[in-house]
Point group: C2
Chain length 366, copies 2
């Protein structure tokens, strides 16, 4: 039986904070971190907040060799009333456990994890940036730490949460990006790890991203690994299209990540009574819709960028320009609504917001 009391060991010195009006994504980290250990037979134990510090791991620690790791990404926002809000943290922790299942990592207690988030943010509250467009990016992750070179599931893990004050993910902001359709490299395939948030998916994507950037495109559009035909994701985001008035997004097929922003966008679209379908969508269908003038909008969704409008696709030597390269109406409305809810400026009818400062329930042993 574990006692889930979170021990807090405060840092004796505070770091210099970066200027909140010129933050880069994921480069500065707060004064503290959360950490919890897993040992086979003992389970998850010793949840604690400690000063931000390097990890000391044996060079044979399994994460360096066999990639058994998972992560999450979410954000906290400072409201005009100086409250700190998190966006759907329970959904992130639920997904973390889905990723854990695929990667043979023992499940974490989701409630404990959200309590850990609240405590950690409270401790580093001064790091939640107060400049429009900024937020506190939160990165929970689990790594396999057993010092052993056999190919097997690790018997030791660490669950860690670090936090970084961030500006906008894309330098372009809400301006549309140009996307290259990827025909050669594959991100994921059915039966693989595409629907888990694990390092290997991202490592695998770097090469195509490099190729896209060399030719002036900022992201890659991924097609399915089996037939190289159906649209899956864009960069590290889910993708949506508006075709002749209907919003279309690839259905969750096992190789697509179940995005929290994707889910929120679907809820909003339904709430607004805009026609929506989750289904297979081929790149040929997109091409044909564009040819007929019916491809009205395209956008990516993800925690880092929230909504990222797509102004151009490059496919098989052809450039498909969308909505004259401008941000579409639905894209803009989704962006404004989602960021409005996230910042407490628009009422949250969906129960998505979790306040950091609300009374933390006493955490009892389980």
């Amino acid at each position: 039986m574990n006692d889930y009391q979170i021990e807090i060991n405060l840092s004796s010195a505070k770091k210099q904070k970066p200027a909140f009006d010129s933050l880069e994504f994921g480069k500065n980290f707060t004064d503290h971190m959360f950490i919890m250990d897993y040992t086979q037979g003992r389970g998850w134990h010793d949840p604690r907040i400690i000063p931000y510090q390097p990890l000391k791991l044996d060079p044979s620690a399994m994460v360096f060799h066999y990639g058994q790791s998972v992560f999450e990404g979410l954000k906290a926002y400072l409201t005009k009333d100086q409250e700190v809000l998190m966006f759907r943290p329970y959904m992130n922790m639920e997904r973390l456990n889905k990723s854990n299942t695929r990667l043979c990592i023992p499940a974490i207690d989701e409630e404990l994890a959200v309590q850990a988030l609240k405590k950690l943010i409270s401790v580093d509250r001064e790091w939640v940036p107060n400049v429009p467009g900024t937020s506190l990016y939160i990165r929970p992750f689990i790594i396999s730490t057993e010092p052993y070179l056999g190919v097997a599931s690790s018997k030791q893990f660490q669950f860690i949460i670090i936090m970084s004050p961030v500006g906008a993910y894309y330098k372009e902001g809400i301006n549309p990006v140009k996307i290259a359709v990827q025909n050669e490299y594959v991100r994921a395939v059915k039966g693989g790890t595409g629907n888990a948030k694990t390092g290997g998916n991202y490592a695998s994507s770097l090469k195509a991203q490099e190729v896209a950037e060399e030719t002036g495109y900022s992201q890659v559009l991924w097609l399915d690994g089996k037939e190289n035909k159906y649209v899956e994701e864009v960069g590290s985001m889910n993708i949506f299209f508006k075709i002749n008035g209907e919003i279309v997004t690839p259905e969750l097929n096992g190789s697509i990540l179940e995005g929290v922003t994707r889910n929120s966008v679907i809820e909003l679209i339904k709430h607004w009574n805009i026609p929506l379908s989750e289904r297979r969508v081929s790149i040929d269908e997109i091409y044909e819709a564009h040819k007929r003038g019916e491809l009205e909008e395209a956008f990516g969704t993800g925690t880092a960028a929230v909504i990222s409008p797509i102004g151009e696709f490059f496919w098989n030597g052809e450039k498909l320009c969308i909505n004259n390269g401008e941000t579409g109406q639905v894209s803009k409305k989704l962006y404004d609504t989602l960021t409005g809810i996230q910042r407490g400026e628009i009422d949250d009818h969906f129960g998505w917001i979790v306040k950091v400062d609300e009374e933390t329930p006493v955490i009892s042993a389980i």
Copy 2:
């Protein structure tokens, strides 16, 4: 310009060595390790041998999040004449660079890497075990170390070599293993990272391995990710069949690892004038060959196990027993020849052996 002089900083204390007659795979590590840093703009620098010690990495180091890592595995052997031999180390370093290319990791100097191996083994020479069947397992690996959460290629890396005295990889030794054919999970797909030795491939394989073990099978036979039909690898080994007198192995198709042992087996088979073909081979073909009584042998090949005979396949609810569950003639001959060459007991006609103690050429600046 880098000066590739390898600095040596010896440990002040020697660790207690494990008993060499009861070694487990990959659990004990020698007194020293090799390490070299990469910084964008400066290239690879500061190659050095230092006491074996934990790595200190920022929790935001990219390897923990985006899995940008590669590795190799090779072995050194003590001969009866007390010489230490390595088996095809240049081929491993060449493959490391192929993996680097796929994973956007800067290439290493292959000659420098082999010199590093020689120096490190010389320093820890007492750790090369002298009991029959044992060897010194060597693990070169590269990890991305930049403290940054953006999804991009890291601008900092470390190339590290650690070593572990090992017994046999499989407790069963050269005895045949039972293999379950995997229909649900996929290891790799064309366009993915299957032919690179990177953590994500191994992380992805753990679930299927777990399922196989729960049903009494020691390894998984992987089928291709596109059609779920063609044989790719077995566990973390390449696979060979003997069908009606001919040796058949899946051709290198982009999703199969280019095994050093695989390559050596092919060379030996050709040298012995046994018919051989590298081609696509479907699981149906294997099933039909077995039905006709023509599936004479099956075996896996890899550095850890060398040759691992397969005594049984489990597929679609049916058990296919091979060669009465006994080690086949070709499997046995390959195992004896390869291990004989590796231990210096059989003449090396192929130029595969590299002596650790031969005059090390002066390493000059490049």
